[in-house]
Symmetry: C2
Subunit: 121 residues, 2 copies
Amino acid sequence: MQKITLEEKFHLIKSYWSPKIIGELNGQYIKLAKFKGEFVWHTHEDEDEYFQVIKGCIVIHFRDHNIRLNEGECLIVPKGTEHKPEAIEEAHILLFKPKATAHTGSMEDELTVPVEKQDWI
Amino acid sequence: MQKITLEEKFHLIKSYWSPKIIGELNGQYIKLAKFKGEFVWHTHEDEDEYFQVIKGCIVIHFRDHNIRLNEGECLIVPKGTEHKPEAIEEAHILLFKPKATAHTGSMEDELTVPVEKQDWI
């Protein structure tokens, strides 16, 4: 059992849109990701998704509106909701997700990282 | 679907050691709590527990060592691990827990808030 320092973990992340696992509890993963630019439109059919902005600012696009999240702000995107995250500048994000979730949902894209290749840091 | 501003939510919390629910996803609650002073020794037999320090500093006591967590630091306490949180000064904590977890674990104490009375803020 060791404490996790978020800033140290973010230093280890070298690529955008590639969530890394920092902890596991109760069948859930705690993940960190760096966002920059636009991700793909996607939907998680079976899982709600949690975004917590640790540093920077992101915009979650929905088909009919956008939600901007600054540092210290969070959003739960309900399952089945199509969305597209975007970050103008690099942003640091904490995610809570069930162990089996693919980060692009049901959408297969060149940015998709298969669940079995999701790395711990 | 609305964003959650952690600082605003913490302003609504008036008592220590009384976690409040700010979100629900995938059978889990995201909770916020203010810690000050010493909590009770307790064990969660069936659930791992996640502490993320949003503001301040806490110490998690174990029977054979302590772990100090500053702002931006996290700890997962594995199920079955007896522990006692403490905060010298007021600290703001984010917790990620299965919906059914009592915050004092199997320990019934005057500080215990029954699961059914855990409030949303």
